[in-house]
Symmetry: C2
Subunit: 237 residues, 2 copies
């Protein structure tokens, strides 16, 4: 494996086990989703099933099913008899997701504090060390490690539904954040907040950990939304 950027984000153990579907369609689903999230498919672009089928080397039916899945997750929009279009991952869409994360993640974190084992804490510290070693140099690696970090916290939560929502949102945010650089201020803030979270978990202070995560998500959202605004302003202005 290459030393950097080959970090593969796998569905965190036991997370989307229900997502294992028709072997072909699930791959197509991921392929198209990545194309949407990465921006290779432009916002509002038409998704012509025949074209996609040819490009991805399959026939139309698997494509249709993949598009229906994507519709369920909110990545594509359908119009009757006019097919699918790429939903724009715009400012509002990202803001909506962040707002919901701000509500859900603290609740998940609170529960984790009561359940965390020594192994969990060791794992958090291990990942945090890797994050700090990388120090945002490799953006993709950082993104993957960051997902890993939070996955440790949410992975075993009894509310699978909530964990799934988090996971879906996270995948959108991962793709979006990779389009923009971290400011220096934001970098040190991320490090600080992660360290603070670990401390609260260690001392078993659920409320503080929850509040910490709330701030973490909130500030992360602010950071990205500002970048998106700036980018859009630069583009249009």
């Amino acid at each position: 494996m290459a030393s950097t950027s080959e970090f593969k984000i796998s569905p965190p153990a036991g997370m989307e086990d229900m997502d294992v579907s028709s072997q072909r369609a699930v791959t197509l689903y991921e392929a198209i989703r990545e194309d949407i999230l990465s921006g290779r498919l432009a916002p509002n672009e038409r998704l012509v099933v025949a074209d996609l089928a040819e490009r991805l080397g399959t026939s139309t039916n698997p494509i249709r099913e993949a598009l229906q899945m994507l519709r369920g997750e909110g990545y594509v929009m359908f119009s009757p008899n006019r097919g699918a279009r790429v939903r724009p991952i715009d400012h509002d869409f990202v803001r909506n997701i962040y707002e919901i994360s701000t509500l859900i993640e603290p609740a998940l974190t609170r529960w984790f504090v009561g359940m965390a084992t020594d192994a969990d804490i060791a794992e958090l510290e291990r990942i945090q060390r890797l994050i700090e070693e990388n120090n945002f140099v490799d953006a993709v690696l950082h993104s993957g490690l960051d997902v890993q970090f939070h996955t440790v916290v949410y992975q075993r939560h009894y509310n699978r539904h909530a964990a799934e929502i988090w996971w879906k949102h996270r995948q959108v945010l991962r793709a979006v954040t990779q389009r923009f650089p971290y400011t220096l201020a934001r970098r040190s803030q991320v490090i600080r907040e992660h360290r603070e979270l670990i401390e609260h978990v260690k001392s078993g202070e659920a409320d503080k950990a929850a509040a910490c995560i709330a701030r973490h998500v909130e500030s992360s959202g602010q950071h990205i939304l500002e970048q998106m605004r700036a980018f859009d302003a630069a583009r249009t202005g």
Copy 2:
């Protein structure tokens, strides 16, 4: 229209306008979803595409697409080369949904308090009057009115994503609640909490309204989960 029980719950104005898909498939989607939620399709029952196609008078492709939609919403589970099964609407599933609602609905309500017009309040009071007139006699009517009541609050929220999540959850809960009767205690509690909410909206007290909704969802969840437990105990014991 018949005087009772013919109450049709339509997707509250502008709510799932993105859901308008292939005219046929979306109907099939609703048909199958209702069969699952109402219990006509047993938990874990296999969903054989050919059977469904015949029963619903269509061919296999529309059924497949409908099943993929339902997969996205969490109503069916897929296994590779083994097809789809009905996800059991069990105690855990319902609890998960209630927990998430407890997080989201107060936030939506808080925003509504700052935005509510006189017309909104009048509408809330109108629906509340109908609820009290019906007084839980017609369960389906009550269920529909209850959805309407809360829809007034969430309908125009800027976070469409959150509103959609609420709406999807609500549809599950509507189907489940209709399977069980309201206890007398629960009836008066619902009336009281609705009235209290209206008062808080009128006086513009966002925090109190949010807290009120949090309690409302919480107690509603407790009520249903107890009924489900009792039912399961009676069945197995």
